[in-house]
Every structure is written in structure tokens, then in C-alpha cells.
Symmetry: C2
Subunit: 404 residues, 2 copies
Amino acid sequence: MAAMILVAGSAFAQQSLMGGQTAKSPEINPDGSVTFRLIAPKAKRVQITGDIIPPIPADMNGMRMDMPATVDMVERNGVWEYTTAPLEPELYSYVFKVDGTTTLDPSNIYMYRDVATWSNILIVTKEKGDKGDLYSVNKVPHGNVAKVWYDSPTLELSRRLTVYTPAGYDNPGNKTKYPVLYVLHGAGGDEDAWPNLGRAAQILDNLIAAGKVKPCIMVMPNGNTNTSAAPGEWSAGMYATSMSGGAGFPPAKAGMPESFGDIMKYVETHYRVLTGAKNTAICGLSMGGGHTFQTSLLNPGKFGYIGLFSAAVSIPGASMQAGFDQAASQNAEFQARMKAMFAAKPSLYYIAIGETDFLYNTNASLRKYLDANGYPYEYRETPGGHIWRNWRVYLTEFAQRAFK
Amino acid sequence: MAAMILVAGSAFAQQSLMGGQTAKSPEINPDGSVTFRLIAPKAKRVQITGDIIPPIPADMNGMRMDMPATVDMVERNGVWEYTTAPLEPELYSYVFKVDGTTTLDPSNIYMYRDVATWSNILIVTKEKGDKGDLYSVNKVPHGNVAKVWYDSPTLELSRRLTVYTPAGYDNPGNKTKYPVLYVLHGAGGDEDAWPNLGRAAQILDNLIAAGKVKPCIMVMPNGNTNTSAAPGEWSAGMYATSMSGGAGFPPAKAGMPESFGDIMKYVETHYRVLTGAKNTAICGLSMGGGHTFQTSLLNPGKFGYIGLFSAAVSIPGASMQAGFDQAASQNAEFQARMKAMFAAKPSLYYIAIGETDFLYNTNASLRKYLDANGYPYEYRETPGGHIWRNWRVYLTEFAQRAFK
């Protein structure tokens, strides 16, 4: 009855009665530790998992990996609680396991989807300019973020694209043209990945406001070329998503590298853009790093700044795990493309990977090949594995180097 | 180990290991019933709640209300299951309760937030043109949806706004100007409410493609004037949201009706819009219906189409529950404003409400006042209460009447 009065008194949707009791969670404590709480008086065991807990190192055939850790929460009066060690500034994600069943924190409305899995998120910030601050929405001018539809004649599809335009872009009378940064997602991701878990708009807003990145248009396409858009956002309906992104759909007419020109054409005809290599950057994570690699090879001289983040790089026709030297020696076309691409002298060829990334060896092999051929690149190695935490850092670094 | 190989083989983010086992859920059966499943072998009781189950009628001081029903699921081999009766075409929402704790369906990535509560959603469609079809993304040209930032000098804030531009709007060389439909959310909502649970972009895409709605720009502002944006989307950080929308923030410099001109000014200077009453429509649900009511009163002759959806209408200074006749008789200014507004002869004054809406009596009182004064309006009464299901219908009807 109290709930009903509340509802009536505040013109609140009845559906919200479906929400249960909530506890204060997460609570960021003065020492930087974080307390999580869940009301579950009838549960026998409640655990929490996520990168709020140091990961468990693992080894797979000589590849180092980090596995997410899971810890028990402690119950008191029906409320389960866990307090972390003090946490460094970062965007964290977590979920509860209630007697083994994955449960999102009903007290925390902030959550993101990564492929087929939702997790709650929180941001820990200590001071201005730290990672938590960089990923937060701050009191700075904000760019606009649009979901637009472009035609891909190559793929014979109308497709969804996320476009960030910097603050001031749409000011009436503004005739300024802007450089363009293309940012590509990984396997199972889509055009919502970088704007959400990647915090790409916040990173650019903050870096542009600080004068560290040149105001630019950031384009975040969908890299699953047999689909039109993120799950639920196109006519395939609300299907169960998967890592392959397009399971069950007809095969694509072409890959991302072969169809990338359709995206560039849309952007260059619909926005006020500066063209040419000095004004065009491309980067991507994992599968999107592979797309970046191949797209830059197909378009020598088009991209002045090329960023491979934990990239799933490979030589067409060769296994991703194969050494580049060996595979390249059997592929004259690949060698010619690499030569042409580096002959155009991109201003920046940036390779970044985590030291426990399962693609570490693949990227080491690529670096060996680049070294052997005298192709210049910059290399950044960070702790951790194949995770968003690293990709946000790489975007932050790469964006600051572009267009300069 | 199998999971690790899967991860390594597909360049999949390690974070997704946090997701647990999933069952096939929801499964729409041939007869239109829907089966929900949750793997929870250790749970003692699992329930499901949402509008997939007929609501429970309730009575509060003579006001009819619908309370969401909750039913038990049945366990077999650790999988809890519930099958509904055949469901009519509609967008439904639901959550599980695992031993009393609200649990989102880990097998269903589709979920929306309503104020502080997330629920899973599903759409049931039987045939082309039904409600499920209308709320789905179909093979029709899609409008673009942008989150933009506008300056509100009245509120002394930069604020976030959702703008839908119809398919073709951004075609290079297109000089067409479009009418504008302003769509306002309810208490606790924000600029994400209509695009998400309201399915506003899908409704417009489909109705425009069917030739039933004139291509128009749809503007979905944030009605909480002491905030800049939806929770997490502005510098207040990731705060716990509430029905009041702005709890804990400094009071607003002005209300929505008084600051609405700032939104119109932004739209009219940043988009190719047709102006004047014949090209300008405004509608809103609940609190947003109240905002629509007051904004139209403050701007006689500006809006040719005015839609009050389950509107929290009131006379300034008088209780929302007070009868309009009695309150108006003591308020000459209100009477004068109503007179001026109707003297401008809006093409459509549309009032819609559910028969079990807790604002039913308030709206009945408004109608009585309109009748007594000979002010023309159209009235639509539907089954059900103060719920999105009704508001989507009202938007569908109202949009088809606008600009004609």
C-alpha cells in the first residue's frame, strides 16, 4: 500500500514496482576501496566477480592469460557485502553470482553489454586527469553522438554507424572542416562497443577540452559485415547474439577492409571533413585491429595514423598464429602491399598490446617482420590482457598522437 | 579450459567469462505463448513478474489501479520455467525473482531501464502492422537518432537532447524543411525514455515508411530542469537515480514550460525545420503531459497539435487532484491563458488515458472543464493504467494526426 501511494503521488510508471529492495551499492569509500551489497536473505552463497578483484594468472600452451577472479561475499541480516582493496582510478565492471546464478546489481543502474553479457560498471576517480576522470562525463563541452544509417553498395546493406562530432561542430555558421578518426570494435562487438565500454566520447570530450586532441570527427562502424547493426537495432530482430556477431545470417558480400570505402564515402559526403592522410586516422581493437591492419594495406597512403590495439593481425590465407616471416615469404602480394603501405610513410604506425594478451605472440611476430623489413612503428606494451581497460588506454594515447 | 580455448580462438574479451550459463529464454512458441527459463539449480523459489502476466486489479480510495502480478516458475533439472498464455502483439517487460532477489534474465540481452529499474524486454508480433511489428526495427528506411547538447540560458545549463531526423534528412543536397514533433517523458524519466521504452524511433520509422506519418523531426528533451542529462550522462556522475529525477541537485532555475523556448530555439537554428503551428506538435506522458499542458498554455498559437498522454495536468498553485472547475474559478490568469490558447485554434487537442490510470479522475475533471467552456478536444480511453503500453499507442495515434 505504501508503494501504491508512492506510485500515485509521483506519477511513476507501475512497471517500476517490479524492482526489488535495493542496498547502497556500490559505495566508494574514502580510502578508495569499494563496498558492494546485495539484499538476498534466502541465498546460501553470494559471490562477486569482475576486474574489481585482481585476476588469476593462467597459462595456456605457453600463452599467459588473466582469468577473472570470483570471491565470496559475507552475509549479515540478509545483506551480502564485499569490500575491495583500495582501487586505482579506472572504469570497473562486476556481477554477482547468487547461488551460482549471474545477477546484476539491482542497486546500480549503470551497466554495459559486452557481446552477450551485461555487467555493472563503476568509475573510481582520485584526481583530475586520472583514468577515472578521463572516462567520466565532466564539466567540459560535449560532442554529439549520433546513430546514423549509411548505404553500403559493397555489402548491399543499409548499415548503422556511430558518429561523434566534436563540441561546436554544429554551431550555426561553423564552416570548419575536421579530421576523421575511425575506431573499430572487436569480435562480437558492434557500433555500440566503443561508445559504451570504450568510453570513446568521454575520452575525446575530455582530451579535446584539455587541448590534447585536435577536435575531430570520430566514426565507429559495425565490423560484422553480414549484419546491418547491433543486435536488436536492425530487422533481424531480438536475436541471441554471439561472438561471431552474425551467426545464422547469410554470409557477408565482403569483409570490413573491402567495404570500408563505403563508410569513408558516407562520412566524406555527409560531414565537413578534412581529407588526405594527415587528416585521416584508423584504429581498432582485436578483430578491429585486424580490420585496421587489412584496411590500411588495401589503401596505401590513405591513412596517416594507424593503430593496432591487441590486434588480431594475420596474413590473408595464413593462420593468425603463424609467424609473419614464414607466411609472408610465401605471399608476394602481402609483401608488396606492406611495402606500398609503408612507402606512403604513415605518420604513425602504433602497435599496442597487453603483456598477458593471448594475441601477444602474434603481435610479436608482426613486430619481428616489421623490424626485419625496416618498417617504422611505435610499440606500447601494458600490463594485463585482452581487455577494455587496455583498449581505452590505447585510444587515449593514439588519439593524442593523431593529426599532429 | 574449454572456455579459455573459445576465448583465445575468437579474440573474445576476457570479461565475458563473467557471464554464466544461459538457457533458451525467452522462447516465443508457435501459439504465441512465451516460455521463460532460468538456470538456478540451488534456488528454492523462482518467480517471474511483468506485463507478460495479466495484472492484478486494485483499488485505492476509489481509484482503480493495476498491480503487476508475480507467478512461480517450475523447476526441472535445475532449470526454472514458466510459459505464459498466448500473448497479443506487444512489447513486454519482465524480471525474475530468485528467492526474492530481482534477477535479470541472463539469456536475454534486451533490457531497458525505467527510472531506477531495469527489466528485460521482448516483442511479440503476429502480422505486419500489429503493435509488435510497429515497435520492431523493420526493413524500412531508418531515421538517425542523435544525442546532442543545447544551451539553455534560462536554466543556465548545457543540456542533452535526443533528436530523431527522418530517413533521407541528411541526404547530400536535401534542402527540404521538416515539421517538428516534441515528445516529453514522465517523472523519473529522461531523454532516453522515449527512444528506449517508448520505441519512438521505431514507431516513426514504420509509420513514415507506411505513409501514415509525415516525415518529421522528433525532439525528445530532458524534463528534469535541475539536471543536464540522463543519469551517468552528465557531470553529476553515476548517481543513484530516483523518481524525482534530480534528488540532491540544486533546484532548477525554471521549469520545463518556462525553459521550453531554449529547446525550440536550438532546434530551429540547428535543423531544417518548418515553423508555425501547422508544423509544430507537442505531446508528453504523465509529468511530460503536464509539461505539454503548461507549455501550450504559455505559448498560445505556437503548437498546432497538442497531446496529453496520461497527463499530470494541474492548474498552477492548485492541487493536481483538485477539480479544474473549482480551481479555475479562483484563477483568472489560468482562465485567460486557456481562452487564448483555444482562441488560436489548435488543429488537435488530444487527451488520452487508461481506464485504470491513477490520473483518470484528474483528466476527467480537465475534460469537464473543457466541455463547460466549449473548448474542442479529442478523447481516447484505453484499457490499462499508467504504463508504457498505453503511451506507445498514444504516440502512434497522435503522430498520425499531426501535420495534416
